[in-house]
């Protein structure tokens, strides 16, 4: 049950690369690390989830929180590299309709 969080800031964009599991135990770490970047005006936050092997509803809660915070500050949120299982979570919860979500690229063109 661990998570690695890597943050890079470049050209008005914050890229957060995550790997590991997002559950009740790791979600607070993610929230703490990512939240400050959503509180700036017009922030653009891109989160790469291709290394995430598991996420439960607590994890989803963090993304809703980030999304709401960015919306309040007129920023944008983009989630990339979601596995099928993660994509399903965002689909079921209706979040896929209101958030910018890009699943993992399939092999080949």
């Amino acid at each position: 049950m661990n998570i690695s969080i890597d943050v890079q800031e470049r050209d008005h964009q914050t890229t957060i690369t995550l790997a590991g599991e997002i559950d009740a135990y790791t979600a607070p770490k993610l929230r703490e690390a990512a939240f400050p970047y959503t509180e700036k005006q017009h922030a653009n936050v891109v989160i790469d989830l291709s290394g995430v092997t598991y996420m439960d509803s607590t994890g989803l809660g963090v993304f809703v929180g980030l999304f709401k915070s960015l919306n309040a500050n007129e920023g944008t949120l983009e989630l990339n590299g979601l596995s099928d299982r993660l994509k399903r979570l965002f689909d079921i919860t209706g979040l896929a309709d209101i958030m910018n979500i890009n699943p993992k690229a399939e092999g080949g063109i």
């Binding site: 509803s57 919860t93 209706g94």
Partner: protein, 336 residues
């Protein structure tokens, strides 16, 4: 003999034994003495004063400088004593708080209790097992004057007291809905507005809301981002997901919830669940939907409550009896 004198005598005895022949026994005695003095709330500075009195009696020819140094040590220990007393009083407060939370948790259980309704021709069963002390899952039934039954199953994301308060909010909003507006879509829209306004922004709720009308045996349902349930067709033996689209409660106050309906025939069943059921993790990975459906199939001929209990037992066994997530399963089966 005062308490201080008793302690003094005991301490002097230990000190004497050790000065004379440095035995392990004396060291062991002093450990015991230390536990006893903590129990009787003797502060560190009092211990030093005890030590000074004892040593002055046992070795009257000690150099003056050593005795004087004990005065300084005593002064220095004063703050430790204060810190220790503060720790003691915090522990008392903490114990009181734990008791109060326990009382609140029990009260919550009573307040949130829901009765499984009995209606002719429909058999209903439900099981909800928390992974930890307080559950984030919640289900509730409301019986209406016209014989219809509302059912709600919710997963509150965010734990502890805020989640508990949130559950009460759901329950009372549902109970106090006017008789003419208990359609599942209405219920969700109303709750969504309540949740959006009142709840901490990182907390949200997934909820499946249903209404069974025994008059025409139709099940009406809407979902706010909740795990889809299953529909069991008694004639063909097929299972299908009860798909419904809708956003989580508490994200967007203008969210609309579409209503779906399903005609229920004799022998058909509706299965509602929390994500603790479908996200059940075994040592080999996640449970496959087919495996879950397999278990339900195995017991579908039983009564609704038996199905719920038996499926839970199977999944509990799969996870080596260690639930990682709250587990809730509701079965509604048309019998006649």
């Amino acid at each position: 003999m005062s308490f201080r004198d008793t302690m003094l005598d005991e301490y002097k005895e230990i000190l004497k034994t050790y000065i004379n022949d440095q035995t392990e026994q004396a060291l062991y005695m002093s450990q015991k003495f230390s536990r006893k003095s903590i129990e009787y709330k003797i502060s560190p500075e009092e211990m030093i004063s005890l030590h000074k009195t004892s040593i002055m009696e046992l070795a009257p020819d000690l150099p003056e400088s050593l005795l004087l140094s004990l005065d300084i040590l005593l002064e220095v220990m004063m703050s430790y004593g204060l810190a220790y007393r503060e720790h003691q009083s915090l522990r008392t407060i903490q114990r009181e708080l734990i008791n109060e939370i326990e009382v609140a948790a029990n009260m919550q259980q009573t307040l949130l209790g829901t009765q499984i309704p009995h209606i002719s021709s429909v058999d209903i069963g439900a099981i909800s097992v928390p992974a930890k002390q307080m559950s984030g899952d919640y289900y509730h039934f409301v019986s209406h004057e016209n014989g219809a039954v509302s059912v709600a199953i919710a997963d509150i994301i965010g734990k502890g007291i805020p989640a508990a308060l949130c559950m009460s909010m759901i329950k009372y909003s549902m109970d106090s809905m006017p008789e003419n507006s208990h359609t599942p879509g209405d219920v969700l829209e109303r709750l969504n507005r309540v949740v959006e306004q009142n709840v901490d922004p990182t907390m949200f709720i997934t909820m499946f809301s249903g209404l069974y009308n025994p008059g025409n045996h139709t099940f009406y349902y809407s979902s706010a981002g909740h795990e889809p349930g299953f529909y069991y067709n008694g004639e063909t033996g097929a299972f299908e997901e009860l798909k419904a689209k809708g956003l989580l409660l508490g994200v967007d106050k203008k969210a609309k919830y579409r209503e779906y309906e399903r005609k229920v025939e004799v022998g058909d069943a509706i299965l509602l669940m929390s994500d603790g059921v479908t996200e059940c993790r075994t040592k080999d990975g996640f449970i496959e939907i087919d495996t879950l459906v397999g278990y339900i199939e195995k017991y579908i001929h039983l009564g609704a409550q038996d199905i719920a209990d038996k499926v839970y037992k199977e999944l509990e066994f799969l996870q080596d009896f260690q639930l990682r997530d709250d587990f809730t399963l509701i079965i509604i089966k048309r019998t006649a």
